[in-house]
């Protein structure tokens, strides 16, 4: 059951079964069960430029804006190293060209795990189609490990 934008009704227009099922029942059901997906993200990188994590999430949306959240933890084989995280939609990164959505330094003790949460809402909605959502990350040195879950939901 998909989303169908409600029409502008006209005076004395008959409320047919199709109208009620399409614009009332189906749309209310869509609002109750908005499209969403998640993907487990793991793996390492030594890249100093933003590079995609191996896993990704695919979501077929109907043209609305999308909420993207990553929640997980990071560690690095080197202490006090500058790292970055960003989201990409169909390969197009959403954050700042240099800094991404967040920068984070690993702590003074190498390999210790620290939590990280990243949140983003698209300002330009992805087209009504299937799209691929990815976590990009980088590290200035050492090997960065990023582990967690990527959530994507069409909300607006």
């Amino acid at each position: 059951m998909g989303w169908t934008a409600p029409p502008t009704f006209t005076y004395a227009q008959a409320m047919t079964v199709d109208i009620l099922n399409t614009y009332l029942r189906d749309n209310l059901n869509w609002l109750k069960t908005r499209p969403w997906t998640s993907a487990a993200i793991s793996g390492t990188t030594t890249s100093a430029a933003f590079a995609a994590a191996t896993a990704s999430a695919s979501l077929t949306s109907v043209g609305g804006n999308v909420v993207i959240v990553f929640q997980g933890y990071h560690s690095n084989t080197s202490a006090s190293v500058s790292c970055g995280i960003d989201f990409a939609i169909d390969g197009a990164r959403q954050g700042d060209a240099t800094n991404g959505l967040q920068l984070f330094h690993t702590h003074s003790t190498a390999t210790d795990n620290y939590p990280i949460t990243t949140f983003f809402i698209t300002s330009t909605p992805p087209s009504a189609a299937s799209h691929t959502y990815e976590v990009y990350r980088k590290t200035a040195s050492g090997t960065l490990t990023l582990t967690g879950t990527l959530y994507v939901v069409e909300w607006f």
Binding site: W3, A5, P6, P7, T8, F9, T10, Y11, A12, Q13, M15, Y23, L24, N27, L28, W30, L31, G64, N65, S80, S82, I85, G95, D96, T98, N99, G100, L101, Q102, L103, F104, H105, H107, S108, I116, T117, T118, F119, F120, I121, S123, W155, F156
Partner: protein, 159 residues
């Protein structure tokens, strides 16, 4: 398209296309409002402060006209301070009035990026009107800044 509290329909109601009993107002517009949501975002370029008391983050302000629902407010990005591990604090403000408790964050170290993702959900909904949502911050010492173009403030009228 605005949200209108749905009317209570009466027996033998005549569902007019406009006016008080309008299907467009109470059905189409409200369903579209639920679909499109009511939210806004602002991004701060390179804010910084040396203030040891709470001051507004420069260039980070969201104006949102709400319909009387509760709002989810999210601050995300990365910060740093010019000295070693330093206590920083963040306050949520609606129309300059603090809401919720002050958030405390220690930075990782001198000039090291510390990721932030702070959330607040209003338990008393702002009135149905235009409101200005801001975040105030302060540092215990020296300069607190955000990494360029990472600090974002999202405000979302949820329910």
């Amino acid at each position: 398209m605005a949200w209108t509290t749905p009317r209570t329909w009466a027996h033998d109601d005549l569902a007019a296309a406009s006016g008080a009993a309008s299907l467009n107002t109470h059905l189409s517009d409200n369903i579209n409002w639920l679909k499109s949501g009511n939210w806004a975002v602002d991004t701060a370029a390179t804010p910084s402060t040396t203030s040891t008391s709470a001051v507004a983050i420069t260039g980070l302000s969201v104006s949102l006209t709400t319909t009387g629902g509760n709002c989810l407010i999210v601050l995300v990005g990365s910060i740093r301070t010019t000295v070693g591990v330093t206590l920083t604090q963040f306050q949520w403000r609606i129309d300059t009035v603090q809401v919720g408790s002050t958030q405390q964050v220690h930075t990782v170290g001198a000039n090291l990026s510390t990721p932030l993702c702070l959330w607040y959900f209003t338990s008393t909904p702002p009135s149905a009107a235009s409101h200005t949502f801001t975040v105030y911050w302060q540092t215990a010492a020296n300069t607190l800044s955000a990494d360029a173009n990472t600090l974002r403030l999202f405000v979302w009228e949820t329910f």
